[in-house]
Subunit: 304 residues, 3 copies
């Protein structure tokens, strides 16, 4: 019924569709403040097989601001799927009778697509496996556009764990649809997969790889930081050797262009020093807010 | 205030009351689609001392479709009853100050009745111990009536674990109020208790017991399948010996009457082969939908 | 925007503010029954880093009765703060983008105040560490006023664990603003801290300490019981020696004034014998109800 049906992967979307979602997110800004009843009576099921406060609460806040309501679970343990060995297909074919849209977070790659195959109602991927987190990519794009005015023409640095972070995968794929320069700063153990870089280059993105975050700052319009997780390193000494190079400190900000912005999907651990939080470059909490309006736009395009 | 107050056991209901509930469920069908505000301002407390996605989300969806709202917990661990040793009576006398109706799932037999004794607000049993699950029985009856046009005159096969399944106990007791033939197909370790069979026969139900599911198919208008749980068998070899006889496969469908329907309370494990899901006999996902309207009817009769 | 912003500690409030909250709670009584839409469109985030059914459901019921809606988590495990080591400051700066008010329960002293420092939206302390539980103190005051007509002039006995109970700390501090006599009955291991007693006396409260609950009954207008937790005693024999003196039994009620009332923050274990529940003195379940209207008043003063 809506303009959108499923939202599973950034790669399913054209640039036109993405731009339409971002335009609609902008239209949602006033509704986010004064609230709305456009989705009154609609029900969103949140199936979080993997806990995530941020993404779940962001979707719930979006749905409630549009007048809809929410049901679901916040961890697999309390579901039949967890406790009783039900297949994902059966869970989906059940829950679609309870709700108008299913928002799913699942630890396995491809799970959201499987869900969409079995569902007759729309399915939104809220993070599946290590590969996809399309609504995060859309809110990242919306944040960039809101804060920088446009996306085309920018130089964007992705920093930190570019190998395992599903957020940066989805964002990198989304950015292939824009005319951007990209700097990839990662420890050598956590570099972006060559296949993704190849796709980016094929799409015309100018990609430069660097080893230290310092080299990713000077030219960037957007510095997109991510967490480097200790458990990715077989040897703790390796982790200790690289972490200092992927931490942003107050003094590093001097390397930045005057109007560069710093984003982060959050939660952070120590890769963003708290004393940069009050810098005009730091936009990661505004990015949280952009997440709500982006998800309002998605829900409204699907259900409205 | 409502037409119904508590709903604790099928055995508390007369056939007239059951028929009224089923009639009201039919009236709920259009509201399930276009939604309603008849329970606007009403609050349902879901107290799930034992996790159950399906039943909980079904009740929540029913309440939300009628314009009401929901609070509660999805597992005992996060409640005072779990963590601080509070008695059920105290939990109930507290929660009734927060809500207009209490929906309770509890691992102990008799717990829902205890809850109703202490509550001044209405209490609905969403599954207590191994014995009672009255709203499941009502939705099963409603599914049969919706799909077969009536209940009287039908031959109904209950298959699988008839000893421990609370669903089949409640359903069998409900069916004693109808003019039906019943076939009970269970491994000998999991047969229906003689006391229940005696009650069924006393009520005029014609009961036939068989050892294999194959013998339960030919005459049936309704085949009601249930899960056989491995952990019910002291010896895994016993389990392996019987499981093949209580699994429904594509080829078994040829034994069925042309218009026979297959129901299952779900979740299933392997007792329904997934390749029968697209057969016209397979009605277990429509049964999920019937669950929502049946619970809408119950909530509306209690609170409306 | 509201009349109140944060509610962190009883000690932040003047008597005038407290009286205004209690007056507003009285105004909420009819809305608690017939419900309202004054907070329609408003969102309350419940961040329970420590489980508490009672307080959480009481706040949720209050919010729903005023037409608002609720999101959040019921235990730290499902949050980034629990699982991913996020700081409380970051969690708060994120969640404030999702909600209009944050209600927080946290195991550490001072955590609610930290939350309020980082939040731009209002924060309500729903229990932090061993020290503060201001909304419980307010609902206790409201219960006393509703049931006794006034607070000034009363003799109030606090009984049980006066050392570790955050409820009695907040209540004792609140009562320093009233003209009351206070009897403190606790085992010697669990006596109220001298610093709190000194503050009470400095404020003009007449304090008397006794060792047995029997000595706290005769003069009391209000007997406020609390749980004595076994785990507070290094030696189980010590616990067994005192517990009998801090249990209220049917026969003890004869020592009470005719119109004395018994309150308890609940859950109880065995310090209130269940056979006093139907005595006219027993008001602890009405106190639960008073909790909902008090929290309605607080939410309405903050968001209305």
């Amino acid at each position: 019924m809506g303009v959108l049906h499923n939202l599973i992967s950034i790669q399913d979307l054209t640039r036109d569709t993405i731009d339409m979602i971002l335009d609609h997110a902008r239209d949602m800004e006033p509704l986010a403040v004064k609230r709305s009843k456009v989705l009154d009576g609609k029900i969103m099921a949140c199936l979080f097989f993997e806990p995530s406060t941020r993404t779940r609460l962001s979707f719930e806040s979006a749905m409630l601001r549009l007048g809809g309501s929410v049901l679901g679970f916040a961890e697999a343990g309390v579901s039949s799927a967890g406790g009783k060995g039900e297949t994902l297909a059966d869970t989906i074919r059940t829950v679609e009778r309870y709700a108008d849209v299913i928002v799913i977070r699942h630890p396995l790659d491809g799970s959201a697509r499987v869900a969409a195959e079995f569902a007759t109602c729309p399915v939104v991927n809220a993070g599946s496996g290590a590969e996809e987190h399309p609504t995060q990519a859309l809110l990242d794009l919306y944040s960039i556009r809101r804060m920088k005015g446009c996306i085309d023409g920018l130089t964007i640095s992705l920093c930190g764990d570019l190998k395992f972070g599903r957020t940066v995968h989805s964002l990198a794929m989304a950015l292939t649809m824009y005319d951007v320069d990209m700097i990839l700063a990662a420890p050598k153990q956590l570099r972006m997969k060559p296949s993704i870089i190849a796709e980016m280059e094929k799409a015309g993105v100018r990609v430069r790889q660097v080893n230290h975050i310092e080299d990713a700052l000077q030219d960037a319009d957007v510095v997109y930081m991510t967490r480097i997780q200790k458990e990715r390193f077989p040897d703790i000494r390796e982790y200790n050797a690289v972490r200092g190079h992927f931490r942003l400190r107050r003094e590093d900000l001097e390397l930045l262009k005057k109007d560069a912005i710093i984003l982060h999907p959050l939660p952070r651990v120590d890769e963003l020093d708290p004393d940069i939080d009050d810098s005009p470059h730091a936009k990661y909490f505004e990015q949280v807010e952009a997440g709500v309006v982006t998800r309002m736009a998605i829900l409204d395009l699907i259900l409205g």
